[in-house]
């Protein structure tokens, strides 16, 4: 142990002789790990949030396809679906999108039944009549609106449509409701001038979660022009969007890994003349190859472990304490309304271990290999730099 500590002391003083170079390596290495870990932490947090919350969404959403495209679905289909054993509430839904040319923003408009249910994430009330509506935080901010004020939109006939804002979704629900406007179903039907007997899609409740896939199969058999989307498929979508093979991960992950590979490659392709001379001197004064390799391993470990711990800590601060300001523009794309959200700090230990393995091990290997080559050469040649 004492021997190892002495070698570590020697390694630290050896690193100290090339202060600026090693400091720059630690900075670049830490930033690379920060970028990689930030993406890992943010995507894993969004994925876990989606999987935890969306499980309470509709068991099956039934869409109608016409000519391979999504089309309005006859509400009569609900009666056919209701007769399938094990099916609970079947509800035709009216919803759609609205482009606000004034703010250049897209809103999602959803129709609900009149009700007096209370929601912890709603300030005010849900629409009690056709002349009322409820808006998400993003819509309220874009329109400078608050409960009691009027929201003015243009309906499908090009006529101004005004409704009183009865409530707003609280900021904490912005991740789900930021761009949402909620009307009563009747009001929304008129707003979209949707023909009677048609809906956007149908949600289906299945009593036994184990029968969802079976019910979806039956729906498809009974109504061949429909596309049932089960809750598992919805959850699977979010699992794939935010897994490590997703576009976001691939873009940032590959560029960071490439930067890191250049760093490691630079180390692996050779050590400096000065380092070779140092190894030669050590061998000449009696160090054996094993001691030299331990020394180089210590040097590699000092740099990589320090950079890894700094990188991971910076990533945590960036994503969970500062709400990922550097990644939000990547996520935002062209969205005009983008929710301000606070990622829930889920840390996936497995991903952190993989990240450590992907960054620490190659760097240490790339430090040791050229040193081993220098250590097995004749000390005189090594000192001469041959």
């Amino acid at each position: 142990m004492i021997r190892l500590l002495k070698i570590l002391e020697f390694a630290l003083s050896s690193l100290g002789r090339r202060k600026f170079k090693n400091f720059s390596i630690i900075v670049v290495y830490s930033l690379t790990i920060t970028a990689l870990a930030s993406v890992l932490l943010l995507t894993s947090s969004l994925k876990k949030t989606a999987l935890n919350v969306l499980v309470d969404g509709p068991n099956i959403v039934v869409q109608r396809l016409a000519g391979g495209r999504h089309d309005l679905i006859p509400t009569d289909y609900a009666r056919i679906i209701e007769k399938i054993p094990g099916v609970g509430r079947v509800k035709p839904r009216i919803w759609g999108y609205y482009y606000d040319s004034l703010y250049h923003a897209n809103y999602t408009i959803l129709g609900i039944d009149r009700g007096s249910e209370q929601f912890a994430m709603v300030e005010g009330k849900t629409p009690a009549g056709d002349e009322q509506c409820m808006v998400g935080q993003g819509v309220a901010e874009a329109q400078h609106a608050e409960p009691g004020m009027d929201l003015l939109l243009i309906n499908s006939k090009g006529i101004g449509y005004s409704c009183e804002i009865s409530g707003t979704f609280k900021a904490k629900s912005a991740l789900w409701t930021n761009d949402l406007i909620v009307f009563t179903t009747g009001a929304l039907k008129r707003f979209f001038t949707m023909p009677d007997g048609l809906a956007t899609d149908i949600t289906v409740e299945v009593f036994n979660a184990g029968e969802v896939a079976l019910v979806a199969q039956k729906i498809k058999r009974l109504l061949p022009d429909t596309r049932p989307i089960t809750i598992d498929e919805i959850l699977h979508t979010y699992e794939s969007i935010f897994n490590w093979r997703s576009g976001m991960m691939l873009t940032i992950f590959t560029s960071s890994l490439l930067a890191f590979s250049i760093l490691a490659w630079d180390k692996a392709t050779g050590i400096s003349r000065e380092e070779k001379r140092e190894i030669g001197i050590l061998k000449a004064i009696g160090w054996d190859t094993g001691d030299v390799l331990t020394l180089k391993l210590c040097e590699g470990a000092v740099i990589s472990v320090t950079a890894f711990l700094i990188g991971i800590s910076l990533a945590y601060i960036h994503v969970f304490l500062l709400n990922a300001p550097l990644l939000v523009p990547v996520l935002k794309g062209w969205s005009v309304l983008f929710p301000r959200f606070h990622p829930v700090p889920y840390i996936d230990g497995y991903q952190i271990i993989i990240l450590g393995f992907l960054t620490i091990v190659p760097y240490m290997a790339s430090t040791v290999l050229p040193s081993w080559k220098a250590a097995i050469t004749d000390p005189e040649n090594a000192m001469r730099g041959v």
Binding site: S13, L309, S335, Y346
Partner: protein, 111 residues
Amino acid sequence: MRRTKVFLSFITFLLFLSVFFVGHSHHEKRLWRQRELPSARQLIHHFGLTDFALWTEARYTRNPALADFFAPFQDFPAAFEHFPAGSILAPSLPAVDTRLSIGRTAAGFPQ
């Protein structure tokens, strides 16, 4: 051994910081599960929401769970996806669970 002491103290500090972050994450997660998760689930259940409101550029980026796999390329045949979100949402190809293979036997197709 002065440098070793300084280095080991620094590494210990970084390890403590990491442990603090793990503790912080557990605490925040617990708070979120207690305070926000039930109300978020109530909202999702009542309004039948299926997606994050993250990407509002196009209908297939706003509701990726409900869009078709080919939706991003719908504008015209072989159209390239032009919304930035399209490069973030990689298409999730369905996994095949069961594969049936039907072969001709000496006596012809099985009845």
